[in-house]
C-alpha cells in the first residue's frame, strides 16, 4: 500500500480477513460497506439483528421491499438459504455466542478491547444504544472499523476509554486507515500499516504497540 486506506480499501481489507463460512453482523454506517467485498453466495452469511440470516446486498429499484431492511433501515435483498426470525430469537443468537464476527464503528477503543461507540457523554446528548451493547457482548469476535484519529487529532485507540463504554474487553481487532491492530492477551500487535512506518505510528499513539511475533 502506498498510502492510508480509503473507505473502500478498508472495507476490502476487513472482508479479506473474514474466513469463509463465517456468520457475520455488519454494523450501521461504514461496516455496511464490507458486504460489497464479501462472497455472500459462497462464503459468508450475514446476520441482521432485526431478524434475518442470509441478508444480501442493498436493494435498489424494483427490489426494494419495505418489509425487508437491514439494521440501518435501508432496503436490502434476500439470498437463497435465508431465514427470518423474531427479535428475541435474533438477539438470543447473538447473546448466545453463535455469531462469529460483528463489525462496528467506534468513538474509542482501549488497548484492552473496551469499546465506546454509543454515547458521546455530552451532557445534552440523548442516549440511544440500539443493539450495540448486545453485539459487543454477544459476538465471538468484535472488529472495529474507524479512523485512527479524531477530527481534533487525538487518537481513538487509547489506554483507557474516556467516553461511556458499550462493552468491556470485547474488541479483538481494530481496522483503521493507517494500520490494523490485533488486541491480544500479549498486547496490541500491528500486523500491517498503510502509508506509515511502524515507528512513526508507535510515536503517535499513547498505546504501546508491537510488531507480530515472527517479525520481532
Amino acid at each position: 500500500m502506498s498510502g492510508p486506506l480509503d473507505r473502500d480499501e478498508m472495507a476490502r481489507i476487513v472482508a479479506r480477513d473474514i474466513p469463509d463460512g463465517s456468520y457475520v453482523n455488519l454494523g450501521i454506517g461504514q461496516p455496511t460497506k464490507v458486504a460489497d467485498y464479501l462472497d455472500l453466495a459462497g462464503g459468508v452469511v450475514l446476520h441482521t439483528e432485526n431478524g434475518m440470516l442470509g441478508m444480501g446486498p442493498i436493494a435498489t429499484g424494483d427490489d426494494v421491499d419495505p418489509d425487508l431492511t437491514n439494521a440501518g433501515k435501508q432496503p436490502v435483498t434476500e439470498l437463497p438459504g435465508a431465514a427470518y426470525f423474531h427479535h428475541a430469537d435474533s438477539f438470543a443468537m447473538m447473546r448466545g455466542g453463535h455469531l462469529d464476527i460483528c463489525i462496528m464503528g467506534a468513538f474509542q477503543v482501549s488497548a484492552r478491547g473496551d469499546l465506546a461507540n454509543w454515547h458521546t457523554g455530552a451532557p445534552d446528548a440523548i442516549p440511544a444504544v440500539g443493539g450495540a451493547m448486545d453485539l459487543a457482548t454477544g459476538a465471538r469476535d468484535v472488529f472495529v472499523m474507524m479512523s485512527l484519529f479524531a477530527k481534533d487529532g487525538t487518537a481513538k485507540l487509547v489506554p483507557e476509554c474516556t467516553y461511556p463504554l458499550t462493552g468491556l474487553a470485547c474488541v479483538s481487532r481494530v481496522y483503521t486507515e493507517l494500520a490494523i491492530f490485533h488486541l491480544t492477551a500479549d498486547g496490541v500487535v500491528v500486523p500491517e500499516t498503510f502509508g506509515i512506518e511502524f515507528d512513526e505510528l508507535a510515536e503517535r499513539l499513547d498505546v504501546e504497540i508491537r510488531r507480530p511475533p515472527n517479525r520481532e
Binding site: K73, Y84, H87, A88, A92, H119, A128, G131, T137, L168
Partner: protein
Amino acid sequence: MSRTRVSTAADAVAQIQDGDTVLVGGFGMAGMPVVLIDALIDHGATDLTIVSNNAGNGDTGLAALLAAGRVRKVICSFPRQSDSWVFDGLYRAGKIELEVVPQGNLAERMRAAGAGIGAFYSPTAVGTLLAEGKETRTIDGRDYLLEFPIRGDVALIGAHVGDRAGNLVYRRTARNFGPVMAAAATTTVAQVTRVAEVGELDPEAIVTPGIYVDHLVEVAS
C-alpha cells in the same frame, strides 16, 4: 374456535385506559402498526407508557402520539434519530421520561413477560452506564445484570396475514418485535393485510399462535 375477534381499529383500541403500558411493534416502518397508532391517537387515552424500538419519526405515527401529549414515558433502545424531532423536543423540555434499554434486553425482557420468567441474568450492558442501579452477579466467571420483565397492558403490532383463529404470519423482517409483544401483553391487537379463514395457514409456518391475539384489524396493504 377461538376468542379472537375481527374488529375495526377504533373498536380494537377502545379498551386502552389512561396510564396503560402499550407495546408498539415495528422496526422502522417494517411491521409498524400505523393504522392502530392513528386509532389510538383518535381514541384519546393519555398518560401512556410506550414500549417500542424507537421514539417516533417525522410527524406521524408514534411521533404524532407524542406530539399530542399522550405519552408519559418511552421505553426504547434508540430514541435519537435524524427525524426524531418531536421526541427530542419533549425530552429536552423535560416533558417526557425515557428509559433506554439495549435492543436485545428489550426483546428478552418482553419475552420473559410472555413466558412467565420472573427475571433473568443478561450479559449485555455490564460495566456500562446502563448497568447503573442493576443487580450484578458473576456466574461461571462471567458478569451478568439482573433484568426484569416488561409487560404490556396492550400490544399493537403489524403482521402479514391472520386467520380467524388469530394465528399470524409475518413478512420478512417485518416480523421483528411482533411475536414477542403479542405474548407480553394482556390484550394484543394485530393489524393485518388480510384476514384468512381458519385452516388456510400452514400450521408449521404459523409464527404467532392465535392464543396470543385478541383482535385482528384488516387494513389495506
